[in-house]
């Protein structure tokens, strides 16, 4: 094989446009109600509003909501079709704009349009502007002290009070040199204090709101557009921008704008200042220019229509805070371009026309000493790209055999440890030695003489040469003095050998595509000594020397393999990877970057003492996060010298410096976009994004919520979680589903909460919540319950009262009856006794009288007996009297009676009776019997005992009354049944009371009577 040195011819065929920096690529946003855009703003809630020639639109990054005008008489609708004015939002959630008919004010909360007329001073006629091309409608500029200022083309300014709806007209009082009034051009700007500046065809006009005076500058110049930055006004005219200092009144030109030669320039229709004090301008031909805050000149940044020949005018511009420039144009509608330097850079981008249409499959990457990227592609040879300029060129190879299939594919460009650069093309191996300028071609022998195009897929230094893996088996390469010899060793497998690695122990690891890993002990072995992960489709192997781990990328995840003990650990989607199809990894310190089939994943490795395998915390990057492309490729990953990482994909190569990839933590702007109850708007008076609470009757209990994160960067991976507090026990993780329905909710108090998470996976702390109260039907309300409960309670109370009253009545009746009985008793006894008593008295007196006349003993007896009877009657009356119920009274009476009995008996006597007992109530029987028994005993003693001494003692013992009557008289024989009823009577009476009688007596030994009476327990 001859070695032929040849010169690398570079840069023969430039394919991309050579520009300083890359022009913006503008993407059209679909869905507008009409594609002529006059104004773009974002409101306080984050929604974007777009004014078109046919209605108003609201954009949230995903959906476009159109507000079309109405031509009828209905109120609260928009009137006027063409919104050829600025859009202005004030503090009261109102959006002001002028249409071809009238000034409209849109209340965003209530979703209602109101119209306001502007009246001229001179004749009080309503202002109606015409439609001619360069004239404007009433253009709201600012609101100051509740007054919105409008600028019109020929009628000057109007100050409309939002409260009174009255307007004052300030026509332009300055005339030009010809004495004609000066019409104002498209927009005016406010300097933040009290001045409005206007571009006109006859110079620069200033209106002072405080004084109401106009002033004019730059008389001889004609301007079309104006903006203000700090205190400097910038004025656009035909392909030119001038500046004017509002304080010093000095001015100057920025001059011609730096534009590529082929660009056609036009009138600068619009200039704006963004939040970072950059200036942006758009012209009649669709060109966009930028002057950075610190820059001196405007630079051309691109054309909204790309490279097309037809150019459309730019009408408005808006630069947002998330790195996008929005352009409203004629016919093209709303366009968006990324203006911030993304962390991720790619080649080719949209400006490279030729390649993008085919797609550029990158299989291998190499960064050379001049920092250029070498891309080995599928059927497109090798591209060498200048990162800074984006220029690229194809590498020319000396040998090309058109017969060989897939000859143009370059699966490998690799620099080995010795500094040699290896690649292959169309059946030839090419090696460039260190320091050499040229490649050395070596034809690759094909063993079976089949018509195959051998491609170098992998290479590794081995012993005194190199092992080369190809699509037709394993080869060995040696250098002999000046030559490189390559010879076929064996067909390890049918598939190409996509990776070779020689382990520190000298084992040869071969990775045939889709057959796991084969580990050979020696190069000549036909069979592998060991096979691992045979079922897996292994994509690549990277050895991490520091961590002693082999990273194996497979189609089923990333494996960390510890060859010493055969231990390994899988990392898949479950560990946070967006895709388990991992092509390859690049490790940097404690991070690794993996290219997968769904973007790139940055993994933070966390080692702990327990395991040789780290835990990996993945952060994924897809197109949503700014990655230009999602599908990466086998073999296409590379770590450059300065830490730049390269990943090859189906659409070219992506490169970046890891430190430039900031994981910005922007809170997702979550808004409620729809809230329906029973399929109708929950609140017909308030837009869903403004609703905070709603009250519903019990039968409106089917709820539908829809929510979305406003994001203009196409963040596809927003995830949502929501919870209806009071119904859902916990958060429901709905992933990307952004709506939920609740049917047939029971009455109660609920709070619907929803939160969103961006690409970092962390839930934003800002939630949206709506309070929903569903009132119970009246039969379930508290007042109904209370009412019925009180009714029931009332009934219970009434019944209880009634029963109590009945009881009381009964008791009273009972007492009454008892009283009646007593009274009756008394009456009866009294009547009886009166009669008897009277009679007895007579007998007594008569016998007394007779006694004195005749002095017989019998008469004496008669008298005595009748007297006694009277006394007895008296006693009966006493005991029947209801007043004498208590024990105390009985004892007092008894004491008295006994005293009477014993006073003149001739005996010594003592009476000891308890003094207390006022609480104890005695029955009639008790009273009678106690009295009679005691008196009887005393009577007998007085009559028969002839005693010297007698004592009567009674004590209260608990509930018993114990009596003891003792005398020292004659006594009697108790065993003999006396004929007299006396003792029997006594016993009878006491026993009737439930008491006991004990008699002790013996002739000559006196007598002792013990008797006790049980009493009622005290009540």
């Amino acid at each position: 094989m001859n070695l032929r040195l040849f010169a690398i011819s570079c840069f023969l065929s430039s394919v991309s446009i050579a520009q300083p920096g890359q022009p913006f690529h503008f993407e059209k946003i679909e869905g507008l109600s009409q594609n002529t855009v006059y104004s773009i703003i974002t409101d306080k809630k984050g929604f974007m509003w777009i004014a078109t020639a046919n209605g108003l639109n609201r954009y949230d990054g995903a959906a476009m909501k159109a507000y079309k005008p109405s031509y009828g008489r209905e109120k609260s609708q928009m009137k006027g079709r063409i919104i050829r004015s600025a859009l202005f939002e004030n503090d009261k959630e109102q959006l002001w704009f002028g249409t071809d008919r009238v000034v409209n004010c849109f209340n965003k909360k209530q979703q209602v349009f109101t119209q306001h007329k502007l009246y001229r001073n001179k004749d009080n006629k309503e202002v109606k502007e015409g439609i001619p091309d360069e004239e404007i409608f009433a253009n709201p500029l600012i609101e100051k002290n509740g007054t919105v200022w409008f600028a019109t083309a020929v009628e000057g300014l109007f100050a409309l009070s939002t409260e009174t709806n009255k307007c004052i007209n300030y026509p332009v009082t300055i005339n030009d040199e010809n004495g004609e009034s000066i019409p104002l051009m498209y927009n005016g700007v406010f300097n933040g204090k009290d001045q409005l500046w206007f571009a006109t065809r006859k110079g620069l006009l200033c209106f002072d709101i405080g004084t109401g005076k106009w002033s004019r500058f730059l008389h001889d110049q004609s301007f079309f557009s104006v903006t203000i930055c700090s205190d400097t006004v910038y004025l656009g005219s035909n392909a030119r921008i001038d500046w004017f200092d509002t304080r010093s009144h000095t001015s100057g030109g920025i001059g011609k704008i730096n534009t590529p030669a082929s660009i056609r320039q036009g009138m600068i229709r619009r200039i704006i200042t963004d939040s970072k004090n950059n200036l942006w301008a758009g012209d009649q031909e669709g060109n966009i220019y930028q002057k950075t805050a610190l820059g001196r000149a405007f630079e051309w940044k691109g054309n909204i229509n790309g490279n097309a020949r037809t150019n459309f005018p730019v009408y408005c511009l808006y630069a947002d805070t998330t790195g996008n420039l929005w352009v409203g144009a004629d016919v093209l509608g709303l366009l968006k371009a990324e203006i911030s330097t993304p962390g991720f850079k790619k080649f080719p981008d949209a400006s490279a026309v030729d390649i993008s249409s085919q797609g550029l499959f990158v299989y291998s990457i190499y960064e050379d000493e001049e920092d250029k990227i070498w891309l080995g592609t599928f059927q497109n040879g090798i591209f060498i790209v200048d990162k800074a300029t984006g220029k690229s060129s194809r590498l020319n190879f000396p040998y090309f055999d058109p017969i060989l299939p897939y000859g143009r594919s370059v699966p490998l460009i690799k620099k080995d440890g010795s500094g040699r650069l290896w690649t292959s093309y169309s059946g030839y191996l090419y090696v460039k030695e260190k320091g050499a300028d040229n490649f050395i071609p070596v034809k690759i022998p094909v063993p079976n003489s089949a018509v195959q195009s051998p491609q170098l897929n992998s290479i590794a230094e081995y012993k005194n040469g190199w092992l080369a893996g190809t699509n037709i088996g394993l080869y060995f390469i040696e250098k002999n003095t000046n030559n490189y010899v390559i010879r076929h060793i064996s067909n390890i497998s049918q598939s190409r050998i996509i990776s070779i690695w020689v382990s520190p122990e000298g084992k040869i690891w071969l990775v045939p595509e889709s057959e796991g890993i084969m580990i050979f002990n020696d190069v000549g072995d036909k069979k592998a000594g060991k096979r691992i992960f045979t079922g897996l489709n292994v994509k690549s192997i990277q050895y991490d020397e520091k961590k002693q781990l082999v990273w194996i990328s497979t189609s089923d995840g990333l494996i960390a393999y510890h060859s010493a003990d055969d231990q390994y650990r899988f990392y898949t989607e479950r560990d946070g990877l967006y895709s388990s199809l991992v092509y390859g990894v690049v490790t940097i310190n404690d991070e690794l970057w993996a290219s997968t089939n769904n973007g790139l994943a940055k993994g933070k490795l966390v080692f702990n003492a327990d395991s040789p395998f780290p835990a990996i915390h993945f952060i994924n990057y897809t197109v949503a996060e700014g990655l230009p492309v999602n599908e990466f490729n086998t073999g296409a990953f590379y770590k450059g010298k300065s830490g730049t990482l390269y990943f090859g994909s189906t659409k070219g190569v992506v490169w970046f410096k890891p430190e430039d990839i900031k994981t910005t933590n922007i809170q997702p702007n979550l808004q409620l976009t729809n809230f329906l109850v029973n399929e109708k708007q929950a609140d017909s008076l308030t837009a869903p994004e403004y609703i905070s609470s709603v009250s519903l009757p019990y039968n409106r209990n089917n709820l539908f919520f829809q929510f979305r994160v406003i994001d203009f960067n196409n963040a596809g991976k927003v995830r949502y979680k929501y919870q209806l507090e009071g119904w859902d026990k916990d958060w429901v993780y709905s992933n990307t589903l952004n709506e939920v329905r609740y049917n047939n909710l029971p009455d109660g108090k609920y709070i619907f909460k929803v939160a969103a998470a961006g690409n970092l996976g962390e839930w934003s702390s800002e939630m949206r919540s709506i309070r929903v109260v569903i009132y119970p039907p009246f039969w379930k309300t508290w007042w109904f319950y209370t009412l019925s409960a009180s009714a029931v309670l009332l009934i219970i109370i009434l019944i209880t009262r009634f029963l109590a009253q009945q009881k009381l009545k009964n008791k009273i009746a009972e007492l009454e009856r008892q009283k009646e009985i007593d009274k009756e008793r008394q009456r009866i006894s009294r009547e009886m006794h009166d009669d008897i008593g009277a009679g007895l008295t007579q007998i007594t007196l008569m016998s007394e009288s007779a006694k004195t006349k005749h002095g017989t003993e019998e008469l004496d007896d008669i008298a005595k007996t009748s007297r006694q009877l009277v006394s007895n009657m008296s006693e009966i009356i006493w005991s029947l009297s209801p007043e004498n119920k208590t024990l105390e009274q009985l004892l007092s009476y008894l004491r008295e009676q006994l005293n009477k009995q014993l006073e003149y008996s001739g005996m010594n006597y003592s009476i000891q009776l308890p003094e207390s007992g006022s609480q104890v109530v005695l029955s009639n029987e008790q009273r009678r019997n106690i009295l009679l028994v005691t008196k009887e005993i005393i009577n007998n003693a007085v009559k028969y005992s002839k005693a010297r001494n007698i004592s009567v003692n009674a004590i209260l013992r608990g509930n018993n009354l114990d009596f003891e009557v003792a005398d020292d008289g004659a006594g009697f024989d108790i065993s003999i049944n006396r004929s007299g009823n006396g003792l029997k009577n006594i016993r009878h009476r006491i026993e009737e009371l439930g008491g006991i009688v004990v008699v002790e007596s013996a002739p000559g030994k006196g007598s002792r009577f013990f008797y006790n009476i049980p009493l009622q327990p005290t009540t």
Binding site: H833, D834, G837, A838, L840, T841, Q842, T844, L845, M846, E848, S849, T852, A863, S866, R867, V870, M873, S874, I877, W878, E888, Q889, L891, S892, Y893, L894, R895, E896, Q897, N899, E903, E915
Partner: protein, 210 residues
């Protein structure tokens, strides 16, 4: 023998009247003895010409004995009046005492006892029973606030009434309080008089004459 200036008997029962008159004349040295059959005559006669001691039957044909006692007491406060009853019915007796009687007597009292009672009255004593004592206590317990003439019992009188209401004899009470039985009797008389005063005052107040 007891010596009394004049005695009147007002009793509608002829037998009883005769009996009493007989007994009194036998045993009392009385200068004048007048008998009446009804209260009206007695009132008229005695108003004109009072006696020292009058014995009233409670139940009289027209005006009741108690009524008569009350009127006579107001005209002749020093006339001692005694009521005669069949039983010692405390209600009747108490009413009589309130009206102005200073003693009471059972009709069936043996002759010597009658004379004793009369003597006692003449000497300024008054009988009492436990039931009457209780009634007296009750009467004094309720103090009419508006009656400035209300007489209250003294401490000693209260204590004594207590003992009497419990049925203790005069002797026992006297011994306990280190006073004589006569003093006891005097106390009782005083109590009765206070009772009468209060009663009268209340009655007069009602008629508006006080």
């Amino acid at each position: 023998m007891v010596k009394i200036g004049s005695i009147a008997i007002i009793e509608d029962d002829e037998k009883v009247r005769h009996y009493l008159a007989e007994q009194i004349q036998l045993h009392i040295d009385v200068a004048e003895l007048r008998v009446f059959g009804d209260a009206e005559t007695a009132l008229k006669e005695l108003t004109a010409e009072p006696v020292e001691i009058a014995l009233f039957d409670v139940h009289l044909p027209g005006m009741s004995g108690i009524d008569c006692i009350q009127r006579l007491k107001m005209l002749h406060p020093r006339m001692q009046m005694m009521v005669l009853t069949v039983y010692d019915n405390p209600d009747t007796i108490f009413n009589a005492l309130k009206a102005g009687a200073t003693s009471y007597l059972l009709k069936t009292t043996p002759a010597e006892k009658i004379l004793e009672a009369i003597a006692e009255v003449q000497q300024g004593g008054s009988p009492i029973s436990s039931q009457i004592a209780r009634k007296v206590i009750e009467a004094f317990a309720v103090r009419e606030k508006t009656n400035e003439y209300f007489q209250e019992l003294s401490r000693r009188e209260q204590e004594m009434l207590e003992q009497l209401s419990k049925g203790y004899r005069y002797k026992e009470i006297a011994d306990k309080s280190f006073i004589s039985i006569d003093t006891v009797r005097t106390h009782i008389r005083n109590i009765y008089e206070k009772l009468q005063v209060n009663n009268r005052a209340a009655a007069l107040k009602k008629t508006g004459l006080l």
